[in-house]
Amino acid sequence: MSLIRAVGIRKVYRSGKRSAAGYAKETLALDNVDLEIRQGEVLALVGPSGCGKSTLLDIIAGLAERDGGEVYLDGKKLEGPGLDRGVVFQGYALFPWKTVLENVAFGLESKGVAKKEREEIARRHIDLVGLTKFEDRYPHELSGGMKQRVAIARALAFDPRILLMDEPFGALDAQTRERLQLELLRIKRDTGKTILFVTHSIDEAVLLADRIAIMTSRPGTIKAIVDVRLPRDREIAEELLRSSGSFIQARDQVWNSLKVEVEKAAELEYQI
């Protein structure tokens, strides 16, 4: 069953001088992108830098304007952002003047949940991400990994239909990133949330995703979709997971498809 359906998404970036004839430079970022996200799955979106994967996530989140196409959630057309989708950004985007508890409760506030219930739900989600003792801390008192846990708790707290994660672990150091990847797998098992996950790491995509959508270099389209079959439904040692045959097979498959695009993207970078 598909939860999100993006149909014919088109996005044009306009830059440079604006004149009567339009902008000096128009770049086609996304060209006729179709993407389906199934209920309960983790879909990873990988692609070379500048292919528009974050833009596609922003469009699904309702945070970016699109120049064509539609996004449907449960068959209903989406316009603008909403609490049915929870976004986690690479830069955490926590409110520095709010404590961990207040940050996590923020979305519930706009949902109109009463204060007492808000705090209760927020506490439950702070527990879920393992930050029980830190609810009264301010963001600047937390490490990067802890901040991202707060951001995940905040996005989960208002119970969206889908979690949209835009390179959420991209700013973290290698060890913290690996810990949080496993943590996300556990959270996924506990909550059963549908997740769209944008990343540039193939390993991360294979470890976390049920399906991996590979994008072409600019203008971005969906090139291929790779199914990943890892035994993720139970607690399993990470080393076993990473060295399993299906892990390696999926990684090779993704890399073979992506290689050409990465080279093309590198060439594009030097073109004006």
């Binding site: 985007a93 409110f95 600047h140």
Partner: protein, 262 residues
């Protein structure tokens, strides 16, 4: 090691704070007494303190303090009431700001003191012209810091708030306002300091009451002790105002990593 080093003792921490001031007062006391400076122009600190104390007892000084402070506070409050909302509007509506900015830049570079004679010509030498000049001088730091506070809100925070379905009004109330508070406070502190500075000069230029008037009046009458009393009073008021604002700032923006105290 069990013994705390000297630098960690409470005594040292107190000394660090007050030693400089104690030294300064000691010099002020001894230099005139030893005849190293002319005591006519720089009476020893104890004499100034005695004069300050007796003029406070007689209630003469309080009258002037009250007059100066009420002028400052009125002007400052008016500046706050006008510049804060205006700053929000200009920071929020970029096109409007681009249109108004050249005018702001022109006026802000015009010294309040350059305009004081004009204020007197138009508004007379009464209270109105003095309050007006403080209003004029104090509004700039509030206005400019509010505008920059609103403009420099982290776009990612706005994006994140929008993703949680916040409308324009809630976005302003829950994100823009708290996030621009530190910048606004910098403006408020500058404006408060300016209000005190400006009122003294304005009272020196044309007034029959207030601490600035006491200063010039004592100078004309060669009442050096009274002059120093007024100077010390002004210094203490400046310190007090800054202390008040810093504590308020600590309370309201304590989530920041640190708060500057100057």
């Amino acid at each position: 090691m069990s013994t705390a080093s000297f630098e960690e003792t409470a005594l040292f921490r107190v000394a660090k704070k007050w030693l400089g001031i104690a030294l300064f007062l000691a010099l002020w006391e001894t230099l005139p007494r030893l005849g190293l400076v002319n005591a006519t122009f720089l009476p020893p600190f104890s004499a100034v303190a005695g004069n300050l104390f007796s003029s406070l007892i007689s209630g003469e000084l309080e009258k002037h303090i009250f007059v100066s402070l009420s002028r400052s506070v009125t002007g400052f409050s008016l500046a706050l009431a006008v510049a804060l909302p205006l700053g929000f509007i200009l920071g929020w509506f970029r096109t409007f700001e681009q249109f108004v900015d050249p005018v702001i830049q022109l006026f802000r570079q015009t010294s309040a003191f350059a305009l004081f004679p004009l204020f007197i010509v138009i508004l007379g030498i009464g209270e109105v012209s003095k309050v007006a000049i403080i209003f004029y001088g104090a509004q700039w730091p509030i206005l400019l810091n509010t505008i920059s506070g609103v403009k420099n809100v982290d776009p990612l925070l706005v994006k994140s708030a929008r993703s949680m379905g916040l409308g324009r009004f809630d976005l302003f109330r829950k994100v823009i306002l708290p996030s621009s508070l530190p910048s606004i406070f910098t403006g408020l502190r500058l404006a408060a300091t300016l209000s005190i500075l400006i009122i003294v000069s304005a009272e020196m230029m044309g007034a029959s009451s207030g601490l600035g008037y006491v200063l010039t009046n004592s100078q004309y009458n060669f009442d050096i002790l009274r002059m120093y009393s007024a100077i010390v009073t002004l210094a203490l008021i400046g310190l007090g105002v800054n202390f008040l604002l810093v504590s308020l700032e600590r309370n309201l923006t304590g989530w920041k990593q640190e708060v500057t105290t100057y």
